[in-house]
Amino acid sequence: MTRSSQSQFLRGIILLVVLAMIAAACGSSTSDTTAAASPGTTTAPNTPDTTAAPSTPDTTAAPSTPSGDPIIIGSTLALTGFLAPTAAIHKVAGDLFVEQLNANGGLLGRPVEWVVLDDESVPDQAAALYERLITEDGVDAIMGPYGTGTITAAMQVAERYGYVMPQHTGSLTYTYGYDCQFPAWPAGRNPNITNSNLVFDALESTGTPPATIAFVINQFPGTMYVAYGQPDTDEGGAVSIAKDRGYDVVLDIQYPSTTSDWGPIAAQVRDANPDFLFLGALGVDGPNLIAAMDALDYQVPGMFLQWPAPGPMLGAGPSADGAMSVTAFEPHPPFTDDPAYAAIAQAFTDAAAAAGLPYTAFETQASASWAAWQILIAGIEGAGSLDQAADCDYLLNNTIDTVFGPIDFDPDQNNYYGDLSYVKQIQNGDWVVVWPANGAPDGVSVQYSPGG
């Protein structure tokens, strides 16, 4: 290449890059206002009509094609950053919900468009973006983000503007004083108390409860809250409840979220040799610790994991068998007794596979997401308008049908409505609900005996 042609070449590249940026920047901002393209075109043609979302109470009429200006629902999700692995599930669930909603006549007869911004797992970013969605983009309604910190930040914005904010997964229940926030995660106002009681009840239902118990807790706000209660007040918490119930707490340690060497923790658990391990785990902490304990040739007789990524646990080998966690929905009877939900679970699995997610079951995270959408739509449909105060009012004063069953929001309990959680357990290589018995499939019960 000659000199001049080379410098032209570099210039050209720079120019192209910058042009691409312009295109991208402008494209994104124009689509805020001009993306009126019919959502129907993006609807997968193979969506069976039977999957009419049960959220829309008055779908008595045959589904009609929605018309008019789209209703814009805005939210952020942690598309990047440390919350991104789980947020990806909420993206798929939300996309699927909106798609089905539009296929079934839309909302108030209008098509729905969901605008998702990336909060990068960062609360301040989430707050700023909700401000943008509400006051600049002028979205008609909002959906909560994923993640405790981002939810807390977003809720303050929602409160300022009186927006209804359903949220799927906020775990710091005691901080959510805003009346128009509607939690979908059905773990109740006091998960620090109810969560561990549920687990211990399940264990005691076997008749052979553990005598000794070890607590290994991720230093994450939600897991710390469940294990130790609200900071600075220390009311409740799994550790003190375990002591109250007469278990001998033989180990009580916390680990940072960035732990990379699980060997020492495994060694500590082996050294304590508890009958039961209460692991305040997130993400893949469970499989990592199980592998580390396996390598020590050590298995605990039973273990509970707080909020694990469910897929990797199933791939964690035989030692993960019998591990427990909490859930509110699992894709098996009795949850799928309603054919509509069976179809939704299947549709989610297909959509998740298409999106490249490794674990595609419609379970806690996805169902919480679904429930949050149901709450949002129920409010709007119920009030028959996009007026936020009316929607909020409707939700506060009516029983709402969700994937978790009918729920009544109680403002005195920060809109929580009792703990609808179940204990699930890995049995025969898959998650299955085992406790309370009304959630368990026939013939399934808690498997645990401290003897091993």
Binding site: Y255, S260, P264, P318, P358
Partner: protein, 290 residues
Amino acid sequence: MTLYGQAIISGVLAGGLYAMMSLGVSLSWGVLKIINLAYFSFILLAGYGSYELATSHGWDPFVTVLAVVPVVVIVGALLQLFFEKVKIGEFESLLVTFGLLIMLESVARSIWSADFRRIPSTANPYASSSLKIGDFAFPTPQLSAFLTAIVIGLLMKYLLDRTYFGKAVRALAQDRDMARAFGVDHRRVAVILSGLAAATAAIAGVFIAMSQALFPGLAVEWFGIVFPVVILGGLGSTLGALGAGVVIGVAAAIASVAWGPSYAPLATFVILIATLLFRPEGLFTRKASV
């Protein structure tokens, strides 16, 4: 006693992996004067490559090395070629490779999604197996990573100490002009060296895929391990990196057992600060009397 013993074993073995993760950065920085954060991406992408082959194509995780390493080596060598072309300085290289790192993280996210990827135990029998000696256990992935690190460390040491190539590398690091005056083609040496360094990163990535779950944000989390190892070990020192990896692994393990796992990072960084203040050339480098 068993508790501390086992924790220390765990720390030592983890140190091997840390060393392999750090070797690329250390060599590149110490010898080529390029702070190459792209090695973090190499580790991550190699891990994903191994995951993909093991999960979708049923390869034995160990065997994936054969496919993953050559690709990463080529990428590493090409990157160095680029650096040689643009004559990049130390700090510029830090910024440029940081840009590369966040771009590659993005690429990983669009290919493998942000969700966790872990080779299921059916495809990876090694994750939970171990070698047992008395009360003590040596987990297979960590043990093999440690042994590989030792082999690589010794091979690298041999390569650097005994071969003409290695002598050329060291000569370049000590007096670039004189090395060239005696016939060393620095560009060729640099490209080969960064290829080799990339190979160690790729191997580390395979072991990581074998023992833990992957997600795109992981690369940035390794900063807290790799930089302490590189500094403690002394820039460009292979056996130093190995020693430093073990020191950090053991310090974190002991802190973890003695005061709780939340103290592990504190122990690591206190050692790091102390080293920087009192022996910034690293714990394991010997200096000719000056």
